[in-house]
Symmetry: C2
Subunit: 400 residues, 2 copies
């Protein structure tokens, strides 16, 4: 199927071919595609083949490629498939294969606007119970629209970036006044992020059917969260400092075309949604995350149970005429399943800190300095093929 | 004081010298400074004088100039003052003066992240009464921290851009279910916007004393708001579509150095703020806005009564280690004074639509299609000198 040797169970099989930005030594960063445990240096291959538009692969971000739009994305996928499947290409490609262990992966794209949704019914219900114990956990608007808000684009960071524990104001209900200090309830949020390539026009909504014309692909997102800061600040204008210190993303962007094999029908939505959110072909993806705290698996959130389809998120985001730009990132919100070991945050896994979990023999609730969190994800195609999304990792440094 | 003829009461006197991006015909956009009713073509003057770093004035946005930091800002101000005060410069500058009526003003800078604060006690109290009539108008956190949230950077638009009436979901309390349609409560918010030039490092807060090292200057902001969309969506994650369709900014960026003459001490804050928000030299600015609906003055909000200082907003925004970037815009939130004719939004001016105002002989509440809103602003120096901020304008087009 490919002349390139791929280790068994590799997340990056010959039909995945995710794109990212890599650097070798002190050479210029450029675009590569992952296959097995290697990177294809697309800048050099495209240049040698005098490919039309080859210069987009010599850029230090994917933005120029993303901006080219769906025809280029599709043609590029065709070219990549042909490179790895056609053994006649071996002589041209093999000199430009680099072991992944020999490269540094960088931010795959420059983030324009970052929006964070809240599309898991289980997560929203859990958080409602924890943050607002005296009222109905799911708010009246939740099943009518995909609730979301804007996050800080400038602090979306590459996987591997250390996370400095944030300081700020927090106030427990029993306290008279807020105090300042390092967050004591530092947490993760396991999310899927959608990367916009093709811009839309201001004043013109993107319909649910046009999702694939604008979104190129997906990354794994860890939306680090300081629950104590968030709880004190978030009424009435929403989360701000509890989220804005850092959001980590995985280095490889998996295309929707590759992910299509793992598409599954969206679950039933009741009450029915308004027409601008409705569609006959709304899908979800059969993706499973794995969350590791200091190497131990603590949770396996399932994406396919998400209530809102990403096409609905984009249609909602733009229904007021808001335009999207190349590099926009919108994330699903925390992915949590029904089972306790499928929850996508420590506030849920430890039920607000009251039910510690055991990790490497220790009782744990929120993150401690020195902790390392790695989230991996893979999609499963209908025929069982794995389509890996790779992983996002980060280590907590003490507050300064 | 200057060899350039300046009309009486011009907002752009010889000590103001705001910067913006202009275009003449189909020439390349570039940087100009406003003086009287003219623009100094800084790209051409700087190039002719072989000024060190002249190329930043030939850029189509101010970002390259802004990124140079406070020393360059200060030196540039010195250069500009000398150009307009020293009659020996007349021969060099006069050929590069262009009437403002002959240029088109564009977006002055590319917006990185956009944050919107909520720093007027009067506005927050009014909105609390209107949105949450059954509870205390000012929430418990409001006097402890400058409440804010992230807005959509990609839909910050230049003054003069038409505003398409947004559509979306809204649900009146009496309705069983939400409906989709054009906003029926389209509104403005009169704000002051602060423009970040110098970036900060991730993980390192910006103290209140370092405000002027990072913020270059100010613009007038109209944060268009769809109150019906906002009311239905904003719990629990804050405003999203009610705000994200458009935010208009004025074309001229007035430097903090020019504005310094209009600085006034910040009002008393009780209860006292936490140390990271405290400072001996916290200031506000004596700025008055004027809001015109279809040419009639409807309100004159006073900036100097704002509760939170902009230096406190920036210190809070970054206290969790969030970095700022060149082009970040953070706005004050709606400026409302005590008097009814000092309110900075129509929801306040018409008290939720229940107390219409008379404009050009008609009863008016929220914005109608075809309405044109212009907000002008000027600072008043201690010696009475006016430092104009110019104006931001926009006209409402019907929903599509």
């Amino acid at each position: 199927m490919t002349w390139i040797e791929i280790p068994a169970n590799s997340p990056f099989g010959p039909e995945n071919l995710p794109l990212g930005i890599f650097r070798v030594g002190d050479e210029e960063p450029r675009v590569g595609a992952a296959i097995g445990d290697q990177v294809i240096d697309l800048a050099l291959v495209a240049s040698a083949q005098m490919l039309d538009g080859a210069q987009v692969f010599a850029e230090p971000t994917l933005n120029a490629f993303l901006a080219r739009g769906p025809r280029t994305w599709h043609a590029t996928r065709g070219w990549l498939l042909q490179l790895v499947w056609n053994s006649n290409e071996r002589d041209a490609v093999e000199p430009h294969l680099i072991p992944q262990s020999a490269v540094t992966m960088l931010m795959p794209f420059e983030v324009a606007d970052y929006v964070d949704f809240y599309a898991s019914e289980r997560h929203a219900t859990n958080l409602g119970r924890l943050f607002r114990p005296d009222s109905a956990p799911l708010l009246p608007n939740w099943k009518h629209l995909p609730v979301g808000y804007h996050g800080r684009a400038g602090t979306v960071v590459a996987s591997g970036t250390d996370i400095v524990r944030p300081s700020g104001q927090r106030k427990a209900p029993a306290d008279d006044a807020p105090t300042y200090g390092p967050s004591q309830r530092l947490d993760i949020e396991v999310e899927l992020g959608f990367v916009v390539g093709s811009p839309s026009k201001l004043g013109k909504p993107v319909s649910v059917d046009d999702f694939r014309d604008h979104v190129y692909g997906v990354v794994v997102v860890n939306d680090w969260s300081a629950r104590d800061l968030q709880a004190w600040e978030y009424v009435p204008l929403g989360p701000f400092l509890g989220k804005s210190f850092a959001t980590s993303i995985s280095p490889w962007v998996v295309s929707l075309e590759a992910l299509e094999a793992a598409a599954v029908p969206l679950g039933k939505q009741e009450p029915p949604v308004l027409p601008y959110l409705a569609g006959d072909r709304l899908t979800n993806y059969d993706i499973t995350f794995e969350v590791y705290l200091n190497g131990q698996l603590v949770s396996s959130p399932p994406y396919k149970e998400m209530y809102w389809s990403p096409a609905q998120m984009l249609a909602h985001l733009s229904v007021n005429g808001a335009s999207v730009r190349t590099g926009d990132l919108f994330a699903s919100g925390t992915v949590s399943g029904v089972r306790k070991d499928q929850r996508g945050s420590f506030i849920e896994l430890s039920w607000g800190g009251r039910e510690p979990l055991t990790v490497n023999g220790e009782e744990r609730t929120f993150l401690q300095d020195g902790d390392e969190v790695t989230i991996t994800a893979h999609a499963t195609a209908a025929d069982g093929t794995l389509i890996g999304l790779g992983s996002v990792t980060g280590r907590i440094l003490p507050a300064i």
